[in-house]
Symmetry: C2
Subunit: 330 residues, 2 copies
Amino acid sequence: MRILVTGAAGMIGRKLCARLAADGALAGRPIETVHLVDVVAPAPPAGACFATLCEALDVAAPSTAAKAIAARPDVVLHLAAVVSGEAESDFDKGYAVNLDATRRLFEAIRRERDRSGGAYRPRLVYASSIAVFGAPFPETIDDDFLVAPLTSYGAQKAIVELLIADYSRRAIFDGIALRLPTVVVRPGPANRAASGFFSSIIREPLSGREAILPTPETMRLWCASPRAAVGFFLHAAALDLERLGQRRSLTMPGFSTTVSEQIEALRRIGGDAAVRLIRRQADESSAAIVSGWPGRFDARRAQALGFAAESSFDEIIRVYLEDDHVPAVA
Amino acid sequence: MRILVTGAAGMIGRKLCARLAADGALAGRPIETVHLVDVVAPAPPAGACFATLCEALDVAAPSTAAKAIAARPDVVLHLAAVVSGEAESDFDKGYAVNLDATRRLFEAIRRERDRSGGAYRPRLVYASSIAVFGAPFPETIDDDFLVAPLTSYGAQKAIVELLIADYSRRAIFDGIALRLPTVVVRPGPANRAASGFFSSIIREPLSGREAILPTPETMRLWCASPRAAVGFFLHAAALDLERLGQRRSLTMPGFSTTVSEQIEALRRIGGDAAVRLIRRQADESSAAIVSGWPGRFDARRAQALGFAAESSFDEIIRVYLEDDHVPAVA
């Protein structure tokens, strides 16, 4: 089993590679090599019993796709992306990375497939996002609801979902797009995702530091832990995708909570002192981006296919404490 | 009012330009110039009281977009496309024309907008298709149902719809995507669209010629006449698009009918002799493409915005007889 991970230096990419090293196998087959690619050189996961190749490659560079696919990985875990806030502020960069570079990766797979006489057809697992949905929507969004993004990031993710369905239908690869919930609690430091504050209002107070809340407490989010997100990728890599039919995009399970409920969970686990470290400071640009995101799904298809996430925000905080918490220095 | 029409030599493009010539105005403003572009030089419409520039430009050529947008048209009617059957048989050509060339057109508008200091922001009306939908679907598809194409053509149309929403949200242009029903009765000769037989089984018998029916008579389609399709474009060019909000794709009204009901309408208008000219000859590739297309919509949003089509198949045949019928040579 040869695996390619793009965006391997990102938060989920690192955790995913650590999990591959711990498991030593994927989809029931022993891992031979993992090729880790990111715009900065990813660190090899500790304790891996397989060969790792860590490369600093900018996916936006035209030559990257061919280099990434040359070894014909059996599984491609494509996480590399410009995040929501940056794709909104830099139109060209967002499309160049999130759309064009992804398409070049798909075309590189197609060329290798043609060179192999059709024998090469990897599994491709793509990090999509619930940002493909946009208001107005019903209180709960089901698996048949329309995709109508309100950000360039969401548009780029939705476009790649369409490409994945078409390339899969044509048997160029066997692809699946996972619409990730908002991933919380992210370990620090913050990236440029507009949703970063959903994590920092938990993470920072638990380490004795102040955090800024830029939106009203009524804001509702659909969330899952980084550990659950890694689980989605591993499950998708092993799943029989014929069970999905032609619809290769799946909204991942998550937990629906409000910022207010997040804060009460923080109070139960971290006490009043932690809650007092949250400072309200309205930020219209963050609020404008995340307020168009949906907060509640009926992720029935994914659940029926065995994808699973946390069922309370307390549980999500506990996963953070177990996996990532850095205690405050006394 | 300066107008650009791409795909101007196609069936709907020609009828649209003829209508512009007859009206002399669009959206209540007199037309100064119409720039007609297609891969073969379009003919100027007869009797136009405005200047016409007819150019043979391949939209797939990198230089075409800048040439088409250089004169800063107020309205862009973008019809140029590789049709469904050809986009399915030629993967590269379909993406090159239906996606890449369209994106270059949008980027050319963006560059002119930047050069104008933001003053230039044209109306853009795009010919999308109900091929953006794919089975399985409910008996009637409403305006909130998911887009899930089952052809590369449908995927390309759906991707452009997402681009139109994003470019419009960013005020690069003021765009709308019209999901055209199957347009019948097309005047001959047949193009390479997989849906061509829906027209030929009416058109050919009415002129005393045999036509082939490649699918079962139970096949249901959502259809409108070429005259109605032209009306959609003119209405969209004049509409206040703020009324659409962020969702810039609209399923156009149409009439839901089966092939069997088409044939009965043909019998009422053309008699048994016409019906006897329909020859059943199963064609799996045509059937596979069109069987994934939906046959019934609740096109409520478009109707509320004033888009209108025929309300019976007899009416659709009568429009054909009035606008396009070439009687059989005795």
